[in-house]
Symmetry: C2
Subunit: 214 residues, 2 copies
């Protein structure tokens, strides 16, 4: 019974790693779509979101099934509730990649982001990508130092987010309100992606240490 | 055992109603802060968010405790997992009210929203308030017609959100980029508040019917 439970939990864990890799790939492609007005990349992301959603449902069903079949002890219970939280964060990260891709599509064939803003979005995307990689590693093998790294990445993301507003609010912003609105929303999508990655890190740490970061 | 379980689930249910009423009150006050540059109202919302977060933790702990103490049957299990989802949505709705209040504070004593945009924000707030009221009722007494009402409210919210962009992108927008950025983010906060309310409705419907809306 106990071995069977471990094996089932291992499957859930692998599904979460798959989700993390899926959302990482989605945001990479969405960023390509955004920065190079690549329609095919954007469409791949939008079509692929259903797969991430389906992994999410799979995690939920397996956790519910496990809870129903077994009478888990407290620590196992904590692992399962954590899996539900992590899956919800990852599902939302997939939505945010989808929003980036849809913004690129809405402006296609024009680029949604003017040349001046591409460096800041490229940097935000690099950090987001690293964070997604870190949570995939963390889910495969819990590690408190990696979870701490997520916090410093998130600080870097917040700095970039502020510098984005600096550009938008500069006296010499030449692109008008529509482009500023797009950039505002895009900035928020990357920043929220990072927030959810931090949440995942906190959930995993809670699982290791039993202590909440809050 | 079964009666005790019912009583515990009833407590969780009441906590969710309290959360729904809490986020409703928070968004009402945040809107007042926004539309009348009322500093005290904004500070009340920001200070009150901790209480909503604390209710959230309370729901989580009680559900975990229930899962650990009892060996719930499938339908009870579904109710508990639903409670976790609903609590997470409500917690996020509280955060969004907090974001609205903080935007008002950041611009205080200037109004964050210029006169031209106040009607659209007032309408968005009215719909958001009705949706929060509906989910509080729904959580107290599940009702499929009320859940359907949430969808039509959400459509109205989306229409208002689009009309907001119409104003921002009009040839005669006189307020510059900074005000447009604030309005863009504020619009998103109200729209996301409504999305989470719809999620809550879907979770409750799933609980009644066993059928997912997706």
């Amino acid at each position: 019974m106990r071995d069977e439970f471990r094996a089932d939990l291992q499957i859930v864990s692998q599904l979460l790693v798959d989700m993390a890799e899926g959302v990482r790939g989605a945001l990479r492609q969405a960023t390509t779509a955004l920065l190079t007005a690549d329609r095919a990349a954007a469409e791949t992301v939008v079509a692929g979101d259903a797969e991430i959603d389906s992994l999410y449902r799979d995690v939920e069903e397996r956790v519910c099934d496990l809870l129903a079949r077994q009478a888990p002890v407290a620590s196992d219970l904590r692992a399962m509730i954590t899996a539900l939280h992590v899956a919800a964060d990852l599902e939302r990260m997939g939505d945010l990649a989808d929003h980036v891709a849809k913004t690129a599509l809405r402006r296609h064939p024009s680029p949604a982001v003017p040349a001046e803003l591409r460096p800041v979005f490229r940097d935000m995307a690099t950090i987001a990508d690293r964070m997604a990689e870190e949570i995939a590693s963390l889910l495969a093998k819990p590690d408190a130092t990696l979870a701490a790294q997520l916090d410093s990445d998130d600080d870097a993301m917040d700095d970039l987010h502020r510098s984005l507003f600096g550009v938008l609010l500069g006296d010499d912003w030449p692109y008008g309100v529509e482009t500023a609105i797009d950039a505002t929303l895009l900035g928020r999508f990357y920043e929220r992606f990072a927030d959810h990655a931090v949440n995942v890190g906190e959930h995993v740490i809670y699982l290791i240490t039993g202590e909440s970061a809050a």
